[in-house]
Amino acid sequence: MSEIPVAEQPAAREGAALLSVDDVSIQFGGLKALDHVSFDVREGEILGLIGPNGAGKTTCFNVMTGVYQPTSGEVRFAGSPLGRRKRFAITRLGIARTFQNIRLFGNMTALENVLVGADAHHRTNVIDALIRSPRHRREEREGEETAREVMKFLGLERRADELARNLSYGEQRRLEIARAMATKPRLLCLDEPAAGFNPAEKAQLMDLIRRIRDRGLTVLLIEHDMGLVMGVSDRVAVLEFGRKIAEGVPADVRNDPAVIAAYLGTEVDDLDDEEANL
């Protein structure tokens, strides 16, 4: 884990809470996947969400993006509760995500994948499309501008007309980020973006995540790779068995006895599982 140079750690960014997870519990039958979890994602920061396998990280993402409804507690985004909003409505509100297992639209081109993201805010309907109305033309133009710009930012501009499924693994991971960014989110949630990456690719990814933050986006990062999380996050929250056991700047979290206890002894299992995932 120490191969990756730990970047200089900026002091925790002070900002208003963009997303608040407030006392959220979620229960699947007898299993408490999340148990009274609370944390804030502050505007403009990179928050790392870590924890051993099965700690509830992805469940947490799913609650934030409307896939699951919390059993109790609520999630607020920019001050207003998500409530029972549909998933696409939450995306329009400004939360976008990537997936742990890549879920691109494989038989569409890379550009079309990103255009679907850009379409999140478009209103073109059947009539507009049939008569090629001004709205259709304006939105197509804007959508393509957005998509190409985002793809350029992620270094995918030369792969635009390639089918998504034909891109290399690393490109597919970046395309997922591009697609999510095209929805013009305020909060970008990355679910294990470094899975299957080698150290060089991880270093590039860290740089990319910082550049995304520098564009004004807030980033929430789920990651197994401690070196990456500690290196890039402004703050870190740690989950274990559905409960938050620590939160703070990386240096503090790293030395937190509860965190060390959570990771020691599970590390070997963790590595096995990670290998199985690859």
Binding site: F88, A96, A120
Partner: protein, 400 residues
Amino acid sequence: MTQGKASPDTESAVARTTPKSPRLGWDRGALSRRVTNLPKPAKWTLIGVLVVLLYLLPLLEIPILSTPDTDFGAVLFTVASYVLVALGLNVVLGYAGLLDLGYVGFYAVGAYTVAVLGSLQAQLSWWLLIPLAVVITTISGVLLGAPTLRVRGDYLAIVTLGFGEIIRLTALNTEWLGAAKGITGVPRPPSVELFELPHLQWEGATAVIDLDDKTKFLVFGVADQAPYYWLALTVIFIVLGADRMLRLSRVGRAWEATREDEDAAELMGVPTFKFKLLAFASGAFIGGLSGALFASRQGFINPESFQLLLSILFVAAVVVGGAGNRWGVIMGAIVVAYLPERFRGFEEWRLLVFGMALLILANFRPQGLIPPRRTRRAQAVDEQLDALEEGTDRVRDPRG
């Protein structure tokens, strides 16, 4: 995997591609590429000639194409109405990926609207009946879709299968809808007699203009069916244009995204339910239109005309042709509708031969006759990757 730094990525991509069974594939792209690369005027001339040829088809009576046992104009109309249905089903099945096994239901609703309101219960004008049929069918599509599109895959297939049967059984058991004896006197399209067009007559390889065999333009009668074919062909061209417009827009992208991964689409801001319903309604629109044309050509309909088998044939047309490609499904519809008519002379053998033809196609062209451009290109890359993988496997053998 062509150039540039490719080391880690190439390997992982190769390793991640699931092995595919070897497929027969030949490059069908060559012809279409050559056509697309033509200069614009040449391309438009080519398209124009093709369109004129299509319209002249019933007059040319080309010996190999013509059906010796049935009126060629009637066969052409049947083929055209299948093409129309296939285009409609392609929106539902090919673009949005919703398996609809009750598509004949929409066809029936369109036909029955024209028959019931044009003959049995009211005598509305044909010009009013067609839009009415289309509107009612579209509404029926929304009514069917709203509760059922929440289920996916096989379950949707079962529900739609039921819908097709319900429509037929309702018609069969309702006096108001003509019950088992059906409805006669369905209004035909209004005729305007403008001029007469002679047919060709072939003797061997030479053709002479046959002045005794003429088609009146534009009289929708009983004997000469060519005008119905012209009407259906015109409708097909309009539907093709609309299809293209939708496909190249936010709507088409949303359909495709929904087909590829519904949950991911929803999380990328696509209101998938709304777009699935829209696909269903568009499909119903086109199916109803085709049914309405069918009824006004036939002059008589009964529930027997809307058997379950027809739904299966419609799906076969789309799948055989290549779901998701409009030219593919047109080819599929032609195969499904034309071949049985062409070989009607073989009587009881013809269904057997037809079934075998479908089996052979399913075996050797699983992607359809003309698969979507993307699938075809993806397939080529898959083959490259397979080849690569074989190579790397040998290298990796010691590791297992």
